[in-house]
Subunit: 279 residues, 2 copies
């Protein structure tokens, strides 16, 4: 199915723009799980299964971050493959890989994430140039989310500095990506952190019809009402990510899954002033 | 062992600054191998084993690029783990991962590549800010090679553009990395493409004692004599990478391993005007 249609459907059906980030760290997983699953790979697999089970009524997408699976080596990578199979087929699967390399190497990454794992979308890092994006652009069922303005303090080092007369390097990246609109079968998106409204505005102005992957709600502390205001003229679709504040909401309690579900429902609800614009 | 000592020893013992990049693509592997090993994962494993066997007298380092292993999923990742075990313990193992993410995620990558795979060094992408480097900086046995000026045409999009009054974004990255010298136990390096001498000069001036990982010799066409000139005032150590032009030098012939060995010896020899400065 066409990516934009699938994302639109997923947002409408769940009435949610919330994406849950799957960043499983064995030590943070609820104790009741740790007592059952002694092997880290089984533990993170079963944790992800339950997170998906608990949150699926409240989300439009899941975003596994590859780092947390690579940390367990090939066993972790096998878990990542299983997790991608667990994501319900009507939800968007975004692989948070932040890859970026020259053509023939990027093609391998494309193969890994689009062909093997059948992710709907991938996050990409454009530092080595816009050609690093091209191998991902030939499939209308897929979307790339290109890093433009992240929500960490380090964004101040490069992405928030003036570049080629623009207010920021992030704005320039958005402009360059927008130029690919006519030559891309895949759908185009940007990663724009929720904690940086003043920095996102010009980025979005440079490419208003980009889909947006927005991290930084939750633990990183972005404000929903500010974000809603930033998105007033946005013409793409947004996916708003929360990772740790949802998946670890249950602490070590026996009923941790319920608490995770309640937290996901709450975050979904808190985003409703944004969601209503898109459904 | 201290990373710089190990690299210095490895260059001296082999009398070579050549690094062989392991970018195994099943379709490009010599036919005699493809006829024996029908499974792609066994094929790339045995190919890498023979490449290491054929080239080890002529190189100081090996650089597997994670993309080519990820393309085979968890089986590929298992092969990557085996390949890292095959690299002789006196050679430098550089994991070409080009990762870059915020602190708690970067820590997972560090765990994957430094702790699990025991790589001596990793390539990193600093777009999200210099904080993304920090989790890799606490170990004197390790080195980070941060992307500063790559050898692809896309370098012109971002890395070669003016930034904060510097000639290039790459130069700025080098300056920012140099500031970490006093707070890093790990050793610091830059990725600087061989095909871009005029762009490398200012990068190197900003951080003359950085170790250098230099791709672009071979298929990408960098000139050795120009490079030697660029390195005149360099105070770190260089690792000069060649991937495809060495590992696929044997074509489909029965004696492909010999041809690969001859090619590696030739490239090593062609680099001797550079090597002699460092031994």
């Amino acid at each position: 199915m066409n990516f934009t249609v699938k994302l639109k459907n997923s947002i409408s059906t769940s009435a949610s723009v919330l994406c849950v980030g799957l960043d499983p760290v064995p030590d943070y997983i609820p104790k009741p799980m740790r007592e059952i699953y002694r092997d880290d790979d089984k533990l993170i697999l079963e944790f992800c299964r339950r997170i998906i089970e608990a949150t699926k009524p409240y989300v439009c997408a899941y975003k596994p971050n590859t780092a947390f699976f690579e940390a367990l080596g090939s066993r972790g990578w096998a878990v990542l493959e299983s997790v991608t199979d667990m994501v319900p087929s009507d939800k968007i699967l975004i692989m948070d890989a932040k890859r970026g390399d020259i053509g023939h190497t990027a093609l391998q990454y494309r193969h890994a994430f689009f062909d093997q794992m059948r992710a709907d979308a991938i996050t990409l890092n454009p530092l080595m140039g816009m050609e690093t994006i091209d191998p991902f652009l030939d499939d209308p069922e897929k979307c790339v989310f290109v890093l433009a303005m992240t929500s960490n303090r380090g964004a101040a080092d490069l992405l928030q500095r003036r570049f080629e007369g623009r207010l920021s390097l992030g704005e320039y990246i958005a402009e360059e990506l927008a130029k690919k609109r006519n030559n891309s079968s895949s759908h185009l998106g940007l990663v724009t952190g929720a904690t940086q409204p003043d920095w996102i505005r010009p980025v979005l102005k440079a490419f208003p019809d980009a889909h947006l992957l927005i991290p930084g709600i939750g633990k990183q502390g972005g404000s929903v009402s500010e974000l809603a205001d930033v998105l007033k003229n946005h013409k793409g679709l947004p996916v708003i990510n929360s990772s740790r504040s949802v998946i670890y909401a249950g602490g070590d309690s026996e009923d941790w899954m319920e608490k995770v579900a309640v937290k996901a429902a709450m975050v979904k609800e808190s985003l409703s002033i944004i969601t209503e614009k898109y459904v």
